[in-house]
Point group: C2
Chain length 682, copies 2
Amino acid sequence: MKVEEVGNYDGFENAWLSYRQQTDCKDKQYFTAIYAKSADAIVCTAVKELQIATEQILGQKAVLYREEPEAETVGIQLRLDATETVSEEGYHLYQNKGLIIIASKGARGILYGSFACIRRLQMECAFMKTAPEAFSFERIDIMEEPSNPLRMLNHWDNMDGSIERGYSGGSFFFRDEEVLVNDRTKCYARLAASVGVNAVVINNVNVRGNATRLIAEDYAPQVKAISEIFAAYGIRLFLSLNFAAPMELGGLNTADPLDETVREWWKDQMAKVFARIPNFGGFLVKADSEGREGPFTYGRTHADGANMLAEAIAPYNGLIIWRCFVYNCQQDWRDYKTDRARSGYDNFAPLDGKFRDNVILQIKNGPMDFQVREPVHPLFGAMPKTNQMLEVQIAQEYTGQQRHVCYLIPMFKEILAFQTYCKEQNDTVADIVSGRTWGNQACGMAAVANTGNDVNWTGHDLAAANLYGFGRLSFNTNCTAEEIAKEWIVCTFGGDAEVVETILKILMMSWTTYEKYNAPLGIGWMVNPNYHYGPSVDGYEYDRWGTYHRADYQGIGVDRSSAGTGYAMQYKEPNASIYNDLDRCPDALKLFFHHVPYTYQLRSGKTVLQHIYDTHFEGAAEAEKMRTMWQSLEGKIPEKIYHRVLERFDHQVWHAKEWCDQINSYFYRKTGIADEQGRKIY
Amino acid sequence: MKVEEVGNYDGFENAWLSYRQQTDCKDKQYFTAIYAKSADAIVCTAVKELQIATEQILGQKAVLYREEPEAETVGIQLRLDATETVSEEGYHLYQNKGLIIIASKGARGILYGSFACIRRLQMECAFMKTAPEAFSFERIDIMEEPSNPLRMLNHWDNMDGSIERGYSGGSFFFRDEEVLVNDRTKCYARLAASVGVNAVVINNVNVRGNATRLIAEDYAPQVKAISEIFAAYGIRLFLSLNFAAPMELGGLNTADPLDETVREWWKDQMAKVFARIPNFGGFLVKADSEGREGPFTYGRTHADGANMLAEAIAPYNGLIIWRCFVYNCQQDWRDYKTDRARSGYDNFAPLDGKFRDNVILQIKNGPMDFQVREPVHPLFGAMPKTNQMLEVQIAQEYTGQQRHVCYLIPMFKEILAFQTYCKEQNDTVADIVSGRTWGNQACGMAAVANTGNDVNWTGHDLAAANLYGFGRLSFNTNCTAEEIAKEWIVCTFGGDAEVVETILKILMMSWTTYEKYNAPLGIGWMVNPNYHYGPSVDGYEYDRWGTYHRADYQGIGVDRSSAGTGYAMQYKEPNASIYNDLDRCPDALKLFFHHVPYTYQLRSGKTVLQHIYDTHFEGAAEAEKMRTMWQSLEGKIPEKIYHRVLERFDHQVWHAKEWCDQINSYFYRKTGIADEQGRKIY
């Protein structure tokens, strides 16, 4: 079988937008004409995207008509209609007498509907034989409303061109202290918009050096140019902000949020920023965290800090997105009482109701830091009068750094489905961050992005499923992880049944596999310091970061029950009682909440130690299995991609064995208890 | 008490050459006139140094006479005399009817004698009251012959200005890919020559990028300028060489040492290098080590590689100094048979007699890599027909990185005194590398340097004792560590009895103290990977570097006996038998040679585990004690230096406690065996 090379766009590929020509398409006839009266820039983008897709997929470029279609016309109509029942970002995609109508109150709805239409066309072609009706346009009638007002990507890109925790090359936003604006900027916007992303922070939350000047006049022309490219794709540009800017940029001798001079300085800056950059969204702020300046420096609260900025940008409908990742990173490992997991709740919960309407608290999914397994952050649901947003990380900092395959959407699904019991109904994380629980308008989901200037955007080709998946999931949290994966596979690799099934299996098992050979039972952190890659059981055990497993010859785990640090009690009932109770606490989080003997019997019936041995051997074996599965696709995947991915699997298999052997050896050497199955431990 | 600030020389200090004025000096009268007939450049340097010293110490600049002194003249005579019994580098310093005579066959001997004279003047002033005769010039009659032909410093300076394992700022030889030639170059040469150093390699043994071009025409003017500055101080310039230069620089497609084109290329290059750079000494080569290219790449031996280069430089009396630090750095930690410690001997011993006369094998003091405690390298004495040189490291890579005080001369003394039993007499390491054992002409000692562009040269002011000490010891291996320390203290801080005694105590205890809180009983390597700083018991346990302690719940140590890796058998008898025998093996190296239960009783009577607990608590306490001792000198040390050093002691005290607590906790958690004294372990 001859496989087409993926599309190439000036030295980089188009990921899931690399359309492939389809020879048999049942509903081809609709895609000959596009009717779009509106000349709105975003509608024009939608038209152009439909034309690219029809040309590349069907070999025929749909003709554009800037008029209403006549009765019984066959084609696609983009209908901007204030009377539509869907919102400005929602869309109604349906068939009416030969006409496929994509309707919305707003242009962004039209754009999302158009991408949905293109996706469906690809799905239709893919499943033509196995499920001929499932994706047909014949009786299509879909109404989709985005789950989350904000669907945001956070790039940790530095102005020198590096990316903090970036695993797919350098930045395509910055290089050598300059802002880049080029074809790649646009292609990035296409990719993001195609999955419903509507907000992007382009610079690292750790704002240092010239990045502080991104709000100044120096960089305004380039920042404006990016903002305009984004705007045509319905994306609002945000920047990360340096809380100390009044000093570093303004020459003031304080950044105290209650100081009048500081407040005036910010107001003045904000007026200028919003004037210079149309479509500007606002700021993401990391304050009082890991060495960053913040309100604590001046004895003020985070509400004081966030509100000062929020007030300054309120006239421009700007948003302040305030990160809750605040903890003591100078902890003494000898101190068993201080608990980093408690810090988010302790710092922010008491401030409920104190934040302005245009402040959103951005809360990481768990209380620690993007480990392969953590409990859901207890702040979710704990602040009924405060806007909250969920932060996840698709850059796989602790989950294989885009060298191991680890499809994260199943994890995100679990987090979104977590019941906080903050209300009688609509109490899941998905409810809270969508605004359903308490009616917030400013809320949503953000992901730390996994892109870089690698030719395939994400280093590991399969890591693109996380970028795609985050967008789709944040747009529609009801989508299943399987549905999303399947769409992504079809769009990226085409519809061959074996390809779809095999990659789907790989993706769906990958997170579990990674967890199996990683730190066991929710304890996390068994990685090499700084790099956060590769096993080092004691790597963070005697450090200052609040990240301990407390393993000795008898047992392991952190007592976060009411008898320990009390962290479990930050949850509402019945979660608090469940986590607090050694036996009821889920196995997957056992060591996060409790210190237990290695001989403790898990709910699974295994001892903790035997569980460690078993899962690690299984995980390493599963990594091999995934490689074998991938190898079965040789000839069905473009050769270049096949080999790129195979190389990563080779590394993963080797590295999974390192994880397995190092962790098993560590515990065997510490306990002297043999594996029940007598497997080789070193 | 008002303390003089140390002398400052264009933004940097003069270390032990910062002379201080002395108000009472018994033998002042000799220092009014210098008689030096020779106008040799090095003799002129000696004159100038005597003049600087007399002016700064005595407040009177000695007048120079270019003639023979008349009978019964009082003064100093520098007498270059081919009939002298001392060699060209030795000197005879004696008194004759009011005339202090510094005589030698060679100008370098005159220079070393002059510095000895200056040193003695300072010692005389310092001990005027307590030992008025000990350093008097009245009946002085000293004949000193350097112990080692080569007394060399190896700088690991990179051309970007960084220093590999440099802990005192950036390079003063290179910056931004340029070679620096300035006042500091000269001051460096003064410092080096003042303690007898006669050879310097200015660039890193890992030769990359532009450093390969240091032998090319590009950098010739600057390299020549450095060489000339060095020459005036009797120092020969050496460079580190890239074995792959024929490809990287010459455009050949091989660097095979038996390839005729390669051999011709080197001959041609060498002719040019020695023509361009007068006084050039030769090359230091790291080949087939840690990723560097070497003869193994072409299936050749190290003798093939070294001899090719040696042949090319033989016409110019050049030397090839070939490092023996060759080992497999891709080891599997699961492999208990491969032993990095064996590799030097295994790779080189069979080649005895195969190397040309102008090749010297440079052998690290121990078989691993500059740990706080290692056995002496078994290659010493194992190659009777080969020139050998001892490599030590005064850059404290594994011994506190010039943030902890660790005076290394006592360690070097132990190494030099080690009896190899390679011959019935003259069989110590000192004998072998001096040439006494087998009559070698090309041999000596080299130290990886600890200098950088910090104002005080060595970061930690007390680390300068290692630079001074290495020079003095390599010039005279009979000097005791105490004598050397005392001289350095007097020259650096003056002769106040309390200052001398206190700093002497600190220096003399510092290595032992560091060893106490470090990895126990010779096992080494319990450091953070890459940085090599700070405790991490398992930091190198599951890595590829061949550096393991093999600790489990029952015991610890590497079996290098005949029943294990067999490393112990690389020594000559009786060393082999002693190391091989668990009970006879010295405690300090017990875990290097044997895997023992924690309950094993050491020769000291303590169990291994109790020894670990005790030494670690002691080490941390001694660090505090050293700080207290330093604090007792407040007001007697120039304030700036006092505070610089105090800051380092503050860090050391904190960090020694980290070492103590982390190591004790690690073993307590692994064994569950309590400290007999019930001290707090976490």
